[in-house]
């Protein structure tokens, strides 16, 4: 059982690292604000989500696991809000930040 859980951790954290890498490359290489935000939110949502999923089997207690999920949900909420606000500001100013 613990072997299967370890495999799950390794796979999920590796895929999460890929999303963080892809998100970072996108943030650096994409041409304008909106596409950069698109890249950034992928890192937040999928990257962090998979990271939490991978760490859950390693959590020491139920409490620790719930804390991890709470962190993910709060970051999702914050990330989604901030990217909406930045997108709104970028559209209003018509600028390419």
């Amino acid at each position: 059982m613990s072997f299967a859980l370890d495999i799950m951790t390794i796979v999920a954290v590796s895929v999460s690292a890929f999303f963080f890498l892809a998100g970072t490359v996108g943030l650096l290489r994409f041409p304008d604000t909106l596409t950069r935000l698109h890249a950034l939110t992928k890192a937040d949502n999928l990257g962090l989500g998979l990271l939490v999923l991978g760490l859950l089997p390693q959590a020491e207690s139920l409490r620790g696991g719930i804390k991890l999920i709470c962190v993910w949900i709060i970051v999702l909420l914050a990330g989604a809000t901030v990217s909406q606000l930045i997108a709104y500001a970028a559209r209003r100013e018509g600028s390419q930040l």
Binding site: I74, L77, A78, A80, T81, Q84, L85
Partner: protein
């Protein structure tokens, strides 16, 4: 080379890059962004050094709150930034500033390298007397009991800082409301998050204070989170900053230092010295001070970011 060492080297390199970026950046806003990222990375360094209490403070105050203060300062400076950039100080002044900064850094580096090995420490003394207060977190022990005087004075300094900010108000607006009135779409995403997040943030803020008895945390870190929640609600336009003359707000600002002083004087009257807690009541007294402090810290930090009065009280 172990993985941990490699991680530490990379972390140190990134922190230094962040610091250089912050200084070298010509424009104010990117420099502030660099400073915030630098603070968060520095918090990771503190975690690696096994100092989670310092890491929490650095992330909350050093990066979060100071970042918010600097962003609002940068926004105010925006209109004057263009003309200012043209008037660069002359070469001699810049060289002098560089030499002075380098000298300070070198002096700090030398004094760190000259520390005797092992470095002088009071950690063992603090650990030996930890049982005296009934608290499990040695950092809270030091802050609230062994060096409580410093913590109390820190709170008073915070109050003086707020008085300093308020004193920037023009005479006719004295007693008015701080900062501009924020407006946001009441159906928009900011208003939504300002309704959803504060209940969670308030619980987390109080939890961080409560848990500081035995785990990393404290009134300052928790208070910063409470202040952030208040600011979020104000920025979403759901509430307005109260006028600086409001009585209830003044009382909240005084709660922390006053409770601290009363407990301190109580120690002088009934105990051995100023701020000497009677052994049996040490933990409840410390908790009472901390709960009064978290309120004062949250209100003070929120008002520091809100700024000096800019509008009439009735507006």
């Amino acid at each position: 080379m172990t993985f941990a060492l490699a991680l530490e080297i990379v972390l140190a390199a990134v922190v230094l890059t962040g610091a250089v970026w912050t200084i070298a950046s010509r424009e104010t806003l990117p420099a502030v962004a660099g400073f915030v990222a630098y603070g968060l990375l520095l918090a990771l360094v503190w975690v690696r050094l096994g100092a989670p209490d310092v890491a929490l403070t650095e992330a909350a105050i050093g990066s979060g709150l100071t970042g918010a203060l600097l962003v609002s300062a940068a926004a105010r400076l925006r209109s004057s930034e263009g003309p200012m950039a043209v008037e660069r100080p002359d070469v001699i002044l810049r060289v002098l500033a560089a030499v002075l900064s380098a000298a300070v850094t070198t002096a700090l580096a030398i004094s760190v390298l000259l520390l005797p090995d092992p470095a002088p420490t009071l950690a063992t003394a603090a650990a030996e007397n930890a049982a005296a207060t009934g608290l499990g977190n040695p950092v809270t022990n030091v802050l609230m009991a062994f060096r409580a005087m410093d913590t109390m004075l820190e709170k008073i300094v915070l109050l003086l800082a707020l008085v300093g900010v308020w004193s920037l108000a023009p005479d006719r607006l004295w007693g008015g409301r701080p900062g501009p009135r924020h407006h946001a779409d009441p159906q928009g995403v900011l208003a939504f998050v300002a309704r959803v997040l504060p209940p969670v943030g308030i619980i987390v803020g109080i939890y961080i204070l409560w848990t500081s008895a035995d785990h990393p945390g404290g009134a300052f870190q928790g208070g910063t989170i409470l202040a952030a929640m208040w600011l979020l609600v104000m920025m979403a336009g759901l509430t307005d900053a109260p006028p600086v003359s409001e009585r209830r707000q003044r009382l909240l600002l005084l709660a922390g230092p006053v409770v601290f002083l009363i407990v301190g004087l109580g120690g002088l009257a009934f105990g051995d010295a100023f701020l000497a807690y009677p052994m049996a009541y040490a933990k409840p007294l410390i908790l009472a001070i901390e709960f009064a402090m978290i309120v004062t810290i949250a209100v003070t930090l929120g008002l520091l970011v809100a700024g000096p009065p800019e509008r009439e009280a009735g507006s």
